[in-house]
């Protein structure tokens, strides 16, 4: 091929690639702009605390119960899923030669890609059906299951990346295994572990599908107990956005703005933590 023709093709392809690349990044900016321009105007202290408005007529209203619900569910999910995930990840890292570790790691890698609605079905079967009503605990357990693989695999990475000689140094001090792993080496791995927990936090706060079949999304009680239905911000957005009421659409945008802000904060914090490691 003549050089000129090759040069033209070169320019053309680089241009196309750049255009496509920029195009693929446009949606996030569009989403951020749209969510904040449609939703930010509704955010106020009242919005965060009040009960939702009636579908038509009536005053401002807010997402109070959903916010409380999200806080409750996320705290529970992190406590349950976080601890199971952490200790599983530690096992996967330090006992990686065992059959159990190899199978568990494989299964967890598959589980990361599970459609989360299936986790919801499972939680429904074991917790909603027996209690004969939708309840918060089922939602929390569903969220825990969703985040376990993320936390476990990331904690495994964090511990695996500790140099072996540091492990030897820690054990040579004559401390017991729990102290070596959980006080000395955890400190060495803390950035990776923290990142893992932040990922779990973001997922627990943002996932909807596991909640669809478990918590009902009651809009009028703040917290009735773990065995009662509850709401959560993502579920509220889903329900309100699909409703036929303009008022509720507005609340959905406002809630989306709140959720987007939460996710952004978590994201930025985890980036700052990682940056410290590189420096």
């Amino acid at each position: 091929m003549r050089l000129n023709k090759r040069k033209i093709i070169d320019r053309l392809m680089l241009g196309i690639i750049s255009a496509l690349a920029i195009a693929s990044a446009i949606p996030i900016f569009a989403i951020a702009v749209n969510v904040y321009s449609e939703g930010a105007r509704y955010i106020s202290l009242n919005f965060l605390i009040d009960l939702p408005p009636p579908p038509v007529g009536g005053g401002g209203g807010g997402i109070g119960p959903a916010l409380v619900g999200t806080l409750v569910l996320v705290a529970l999910a992190l406590a349950i899923g976080g601890s199971i995930g952490f200790f599983t990840g530690l096992y996967l890292s330090e006992f990686s030669h065992t059959r159990l570790a190899q199978y568990t790691q494989m299964f967890l890698q598959v589980m990361v890609e599970f459609p989360t609605i299936i986790v919801g079905l499972f939680a429904y079967m074991i917790l909603v059906a027996p209690l004969k009503r939708f309840n918060a605990l089922a939602g929390a357990i569903a969220l825990s299951i969703v985040i376990i693989p993320y936390i476990a695999l990331n904690v495994r990475e964090a511990y695996k990346s500790i140099p072996y000689t540091l492990k030897e140094a820690a054990f040579s001090l004559g401390v017991s295994a729990p102290i070596a792993y959980l006080r000395i080496l955890l400190s060495a791995a803390r950035r990776g572990v923290l990142t893992a927990l932040l990922i779990g936090l973001a997922k627990a706060a943002g996932e909807t599908a596991p909640l669809l079949l478990t918590i009902l999304g009651t809009t009028f009680t703040y917290f009735g107990g773990l065995d009662q239905p509850i709401n959560a911000i993502p579920l509220l957005i889903y329900n309100f956005a699909l409703s036929p009421y303009e008022k509720w659409h507005q609340v959905a945008w406002g809630a989306a703005a709140v959720l987007l802000t939460i996710i952004l904060v978590i994201f930025i914090v985890s980036r700052l933590i990682i940056k410290e490691v590189k420096v």
Binding site: H97, L166, A169, S172, L173, G174, I184
Partner: protein, 253 residues
């Protein structure tokens, strides 16, 4: 005569590979005992078999006895953390905990093992350890700074201080100067000669000249077998085994 440590019929396997082959020797107290041999002969493994750090390797299997004060460290009712506290260990690449300060590196062992009752005792312990390691004067104003800021030689002396802080009986050293420049190396060798008054030192080295310089007794390990052992002066001037002679004269790997 009481021995610091007695190794009897020690055998170590990594999977199917027989790494340490029926090694037996005894180390007197308050001496510097060198283990020398070409790379890959099992010196580091031998060292780790003594303080049971080898337990961390799931593929390693140990048979035989290692006795401290008559107690076999591989015995049935022996607490492995107690065993490790009898030793202080210094590694080939200086490995202070990078996320801890100079002070915390030395204080960690005593604190976690409950060796001191309060902060002032801990401060005193840290100071003594750093003094013994000839590092105190250089870092006394920077105790809170991260350990990673020190030079290689300083880091290694910090590791020695960390090991001393536990008041062990025996100090194990795995090629401690292999990654240091000659100046830093000789500082550490001087330090060893001082330390042997209070401790028994077992040092693994791949450098026969170092063994000749610092040790009182030396053992020559080749392919996992103990070829020769004796007073350093004797082994180096009148070796009784041809392999030893080759190694000492530098005609071996």
């Amino acid at each position: 005569m009481s021995w610091a440590i007695e190794v009897q019929n020690l055998n170590v396997w990594y999977g199917d590979k027989h790494i340490i082959k029926n090694v037996s020797f005894r180390v007197p107290k308050n001496v510097i005992f060198a283990i020398m041999g070409p790379s890959g002969c099992g010196k580091s493994t031998l060292l780790r078999a003594m303080n049971r750090l080898l337990d961390l390797n799931p593929h390693a299997r140990v048979e035989g006895q290692v006795k401290i004060n008559g107690i076999n460290v591989y015995g049935d009712n022996v607490d492995v953390t107690w065993v490790r506290r009898q030793f202080g260990m210094v590694f080939q690449i200086p490995n202070p905990f990078p996320h801890l300060s100079i002070y915390e590196n030395v204080a960690l062992g005593p604190k976690l093992n409950g060796l001191v009752k309060d902060k002032s005792q801990l401060d005193e312990l840290v100071k003594q350890a750093l003094q013994k390691a000839y590092l105190w004067d250089e870092v006394k104003n920077d105790l809170r700074k991260p350990a990673s800021m020190l030079s290689g030689g300083q880091q290694q002396r910090l590791c020695i201080a960390r090991a001393l802080a536990l008041k062990p009986r025996i100090i194990l050293m795995d090629e401690p100067t292999a990654n240091l420049d000659p100046v830093a190396s000789s500082k550490i060798e001087e330090l060893l000669l001082e330390l042997k008054e209070d401790y028994t030192i077992i040092i693994v080295t791949h450098n026969p000249q170092q063994a000749a310089r610092v040790s009182d007794y030396v053992a020559f390990l080749y392919m996992g077998e103990l070829i020769e052992i004796g007073e350093t002066s004797t082994v180096f001037t009148r070796p009784s085994n041809i392999l030893t002679e080759k190694y000492v004269l530098g005609r071996m790997g």
